[in-house]
Symmetry: C2
Subunit: 361 residues, 2 copies
DNA sequence: CTTCATCGGGTAAGCGGTTGCACAACCGGC
DNA sequence: GCCGGTTGTGCAACCGCTTACCCGATGAAG
């Protein structure tokens, strides 16, 4: 029906701006200007050009456009994995905001491997993405800070803005934006929630010294205990990574070593909670009847297991990262170098108040 | 320490191939050839160039490279949403394979809106992605086929290969690849699983006439019933979309209308199963003690709720799509225009054999 | 009826690579 | 000692688009 379907068949070279110009009887410059919109032009010329574009089914070549100096049209996001709900939701936010701003979104995964992270950053550098968003949990050591600083500078030189999402900030002279969320505050709030329900022996699952996310969550946990004058027992902090299977393992090992010496569990995230819950069940312990439990993240598994947890604004994290990075206003830029998003408790049905009798146990 | 950190600081124009050539004392052509690797070169020259590259921290400009005729370096995937586990896993597969082939992956989301799908395809066309992978459930009507045919031809003209992933095929003369998985076979198998356990009244949740995925699943369901000589009761097929909340709604409505007239539930996917399970529980019905249940997809919620389900090779779907599309061999190309991946049952703990007494109910 | 902004549009110089073609240097064989 | 064949580089023409600069036409002002 359209010229395109009939004439522009497969195998044929796609139309260039020259073709459009010829077809419309104007010069390429005119076509370029009319398409980019930012230029006065006679309505007649304009409609001629638009008609030619339609008839030839012309789309601009992004490579050429990018080369010729127009600003890039893409934002990049680098995550550990796309299937992990945490990253997926941040990615969704990035995607959404990018689409809103008319940019497209390129995704790289690292599997947590710094080697691949480096390779991916290089790839993004080649691509001249407008910004590169690095998200997730890391070890905040000197090596990390040095690596990020290098990334930031190299990207800045290529015209891209580095954004650290849920990662610790670097020095003030490093050209990087930071968008974080309040891990410590959330952990504090939900630990207080357990404490108010009368729990005193709260098992923390997923300690991992050196890693920023579990570190700041456990900090909130400890602070809440301290503020409620509950003695801190390091034996209640169990080491493990942020996976479902780890939650299962940690509870299992604990229960095989002896009967539960805790009345509540604070899982480092919802995945751990799901695994822990399964292990508890296999030992005949029900949540919340026998053991109370809370998680962190408020991601899909949480609703399925009726878990009281801390809501993390994952999508907003992604959206904010993009919004900030594309911020053209240099005044605002300087102000918003570092953003901290809030978190809050979502109450479901996984916590029971402890009867005074149990409390003394 | 490195030249880069010291000299190539922020704000400075990134090094071009010309800079490298000058720094190494050779011509740009030589640098280009050495970097692309596909050319003989003297070891001495080679190391000079590599050193210059390192010292200047040079990375090629992808736009320029793309413009100058070198084949594109990216594959594109277009999905409804990144957070839906189904799409996320396919995307993961695409990502993995793309990384393996040294390409990067650009992602677009449509939210299920054909308008945005079109816009996204145009964007990918501009980008000259090597292939564009469209994934997911759709209405297989004339409008759909016509739209896809247009996409396929337009993309082919721009040098991209269209891949339909989990979507129905088009005519044989349309330049599109198809990678599907066996919905009907899986549904047949898992329905048979329920039938073998003695269930006769199996509620199907998530019928949605016209949509390819639920359609082919319900086809397998019906076929299994027929083969087992179980009368088909259309009243057992409940309309609904593929979301968790819908599963909840469907069961809830059913149970509010009267006591259960079924002994098992076949949820159109795992999300529906999760929602349905919750609704059952709220009505005092336990899975599998009171009601047996199976799902489809074998995605995260399934393990959490111990769901017997059909495993869909999501990641492999994505990997295969990329592998096929990048297949350079035209002989194989022709052969593999249409691929069907197998599915199989994963048995967990959500089905109980029906006692003969109940069977007659 | 000039004069001069103003507006709309054309010309052409890049952007940073790739690659066909030409060519110098060096090899062994006659 | 001359010749044909490698090998390794350089030269320069694009790829498709943007944009600085320039110029012809048009209408208002003097």
């Amino acid at each position: 029906m359209s010229q395109r379907a009939a004439g522009g068949g497969e195998g044929r070279r796609p139309a260039t701006i020259r073709d459009v110009a010829a077809h419309a009887g104007v010069s390429v410059a005119t076509v370029s200007r009319i398409l980019s919109g930012t230029y006065p032009s006679a309505p007649a010329t304009r409609s001629k050009v638009m008609r030619a574009v339609r008839e030839l089914d012309y789309v601009a070549n992004a490579n050429a456009r990018g080369l010729a100096g127009a600003s890039s049209r893409s934002v990049a996001i680098i995550v550990n994995s796309v299937v992990s709900p945490h990253y997926a939701h941040v990615a969704q936010g990035v995607q959404t905001q990018a689409a809103l701003e008319g940019k497209l979104c390129i995704v790289g995964t690292t599997g947590g491997d710094p080697e691949r992270e480096l390779a991916t950053v290089q790839l993004m550098r080649q691509e001249h993405a407008e910004c590169v968003i690095l998200v997730g949990n890391v070890v905040n050591d000197e090596a990390y800070r040095q690596r990020m600083t290098e990334y930031a500078r190299a990207l800045a030189a290529a015209g891209s803005q580095l954004v650290l999402c849920g990662r610790p900030a670097l020095g003030p002279d490093v050209p990087a934006l930071v968008v974080e969320y309040d891990n410590t505050g959330g952990a504090y709030a939900i630990t207080s929630h357990l404490l108010s329900a009368g729990h005193r022996r709260i098992l923390f699952l997923g300690r991992r010294d050196g890693y920023t996310t579990p570190d700041s969550r456990i900090t909130g946990y400890r602070r809440a205990l301290a503020d409620h004058r509950v003695p801190h027992d390091p034996g209640l902090e169990i080491d493990g990574t942020m996976e479902r299977s780890e939650g299962y393992r940690m509870i299992r090992q604990r229960l095989e070593a002896g009967p539960p010496d805790f009345t509540a569990v604070f899982a480092g995230n919802d995945l751990i909670a799901a695994g822990a819950r399964q292990a508890l069940r296999e030992h005949g312990l029900r949540v919340p009847d026998d053991i109370s439990m809370v998680g962190f993240d408020d991601l899909p598994p949480a609703a399925d297991i009726d878990l009281t947890t801390v809501h993390v604004p994952h999508e907003e994290l992604g959206r904010t990262a993009v919004r900030l990075a594309l911020q053209r206003d240099p005044g605002k830029m300087a102000m918003a170098q570092h953003v901290l998003l809030g978190t809050h408790i979502i109450v479901r049905d996984s916590v029971r108040p402890l009867r005074p009798a149990d409390a003394t146990t």
